[in-house]
């Protein structure tokens, strides 16, 4: 007889504070914007294929 034990579940919560350097903050925002655009363009490309 084989028995498998159910795995535990985990909930983790955390918060991320804004970067202390305003220049870095603006670069982070730009990176995230470009990633969002990239994801949208990739999705559109997949639709065309």
């Amino acid at each position: 007889m084989n028995v498998s034990t159910p795995a535990p579940t985990v909930e983790i919560k955390y918060t991320v504070e804004p970067h202390p350097d305003p220049v870095v903050r603006s670069l982070i925002a730009e990176i995230e914007k470009l990633r969002a655009e990239n994801a949208e363009l990739t999705a559109r490309l997949q639709e065309k294929k």
Binding site: M1, N2, V3, S4, T5, P6, A7, P8, T9, V10, E11, I12, K13, Y14, T15, V16, E17, P18, H19, P20, D21, V24, L27, I28, I31, E32, R35
Partner: protein
């Protein structure tokens, strides 16, 4: 007589607490105890990607305070647990792990849109592990 893979239907509370407290004791037995947020090539994996983005240091003797209640371990976050990110450039968090220095480790996935950049302060506000009743 056939060998059968069976499904567990009941794990009573005392058993769940025993499982949970055994894990808590293992974590507490190490010299150092950490929870990490990571970026891995495959979410929940143990290799590749950017790796460790931020490392939270846990209480060295009783990370889960009073131990398990109804199979639930709740991390003691008083005083608050914060850390400064050591890596990342708007890098997505897709993996967490809890571990000590004695190869005790559980790894899982993170869902969400948060990103982390080196130098940001990250606050661990809640962490619970629940051992199921069935």
């Amino acid at each position: 007589m056939a060998l059968t893979l069976t499904t567990i239907t009941v794990i009573d509370t005392a058993t769940r607490d025993a499982q949970a407290n055994a894990f808590a004791a293992l974590i507490d037995s190490g010299t150092t105890q950490n929870i990490r947020l990571l970026n891995r090539t495959s979410p929940g994996g143990t290799t590749g990607g950017t790796g460790v983005l931020v490392t939270f240091t846990l209480d060295g003797t009783a990370a889960f305070g009073g131990g398990s209640s109804s199979g639930v371990l709740t991390l003691d976050v008083s005083p608050a647990i914060s850390a400064t990110a050591s890596a990342g450039s708007a890098t997505a968090v897709n993996t967490w792990e809890i571990l000590d220095d004695a190869d005790i480790r559980i790894v899982g996935t993170v869902t969400g849109s948060d990103t982390i950049t080196s130098g940001q302060t990250v606050n661990l506000t809640s962490f619970t592990i629940t051992w199921p009743a069935s």
